[in-house]
Symmetry: D2
Subunit: 138 residues, 4 copies
């Protein structure tokens, strides 16, 4: 019950240390999250069409091993918890040798167009279920 996304390290994502610049992992988290939402049938553009805004309220990354140009990184996304109006997502990134290169987390709020928090559980129970069922970490 895991959701996997693959990102190939681009040349423009490297820095003068010869490795991937650390800021890019935050972007890969977004790529993986977008893919995950699509997979569970609630893609980003659907949320936007419903007037749901989903800002990032917190992120953290722990860098375990450097990655390099052209490496294929597999990102496993899992919903950790949905508490109140906040969604907690975890990420585990692995290289082609299946070594963990980065673990990360992001926290998200759900807001309406006026910036008021939306209680997803009440308002969009289908989305709530999809998030909890499909993404929960085993």
């Amino acid at each position: 019950m895991s959701h996997r996304y693959t990102h190939v390290v681009q040349y423009y994502e490297t820095d003068k240390m010869g490795i991937t610049h650390h800021s890019n992992y935050v972007r890969w988290m977004e790529e993986a999250r977008v893919g995950f939402l699509k997979e569970i049938g609630w893609e980003f553009t659907t949320l936007e069409a419903l007037g749901i805004i989903c800002p990032v309220v917190e992120i953290s990354c722990t860098y375990k091993k450097p990655t390099v140009f052209a490496e294929q990184i597999t990102i496993e996304v899992s919903v950790q918890e949905f508490k109140g109006v906040k969604l907690f997502i975890a990420y585990e990134m692995r290289n082609e040798q299946d070594e963990v290169v980065c673990t990360a987390s992001s926290t998200h709020a759900f807001l309406d167009a006026e910036g008021r928090p939306i209680r997803i559980k009440q308002k969009y129970p289908g989305f709530y279920q999809a998030l909890l069922e499909s993404g929960t970490e085993e």
Copy 2:
């Protein structure tokens, strides 16, 4: 009668060749352009408030010399021409040794909220004058 903008090369703008990744110069052109418009009294947010959208329709860059982390790059912006609904801007970027590192150009259209071209000369003569007078290359 020149407009200068300074950009210091950031670590995250370098790549594994150890130099600035070429895509960043396109971003510096935007930085310099934004500074230039502010200087002539028609800053970007003013244009947006007036409902003027100003998409980039063409860019080109010629890379003369590599630049490196922490280097201070001076970008000279000049309006080359305003022809019909198109604005042509030229850029010359120099390093601290006053060597030209990159020459570039960008072409812009001016559109209203519906995507229709705006004739700046007729509709916003003050802006037109400001562009031609302050930015024209000697």
Copy 3:
């Protein structure tokens, strides 16, 4: 005899105009180029292992239509010419409706570790042939 690469527009590649920021197309050109070199059997890491540095000396982009988040862009890469020590590559980018959204070009030099130009035709005839045969525009 064309080489195609697909890029899906990422959320972080959009800007406040609601469309893809123009600087990203320069990065997609690199992605497509890297894919093209791999396809013809001379991938970037091979070139680097041989001590061949391949800086970008010129780029240009003409933006025809905006692109938006989650759109799938197909980039066709073709070698236009190999003149002296310079390689000219052309790019045509299309959206899912097969409309051209951007045409672009890049020029590259081939240098050794000391920064001296390499005559690819003489020094690496296999690479030269691969470039001309596989990538030439019909």
Copy 4:
């Protein structure tokens, strides 16, 4: 005894939500860190010349308020702790209304060219002192 760095939000840093994309704050942290090291007399290029590599091992950001194009963000950098071979840095980012928009932290290791940890306190006591004295949070 605080170290401040100013970053003006660039157009290319915004996203289709109309605000700064969250990944950019990680880059601003680096900008502020580079400025801080320069201020205390141990700039990045000095460290590199000494063969000291300083990878990021952890980052976290808490986003308090969105920021928008052209806004001037002040980033206060402070050394929180130097424990063993790890340096902990804290960041507080404020907008022009002096509201906190983001708080963040980064953890860094110091490695030699072979990737072995360097004990900064023993090997570079001057750097150690400069970090602790100048940057410590009041």
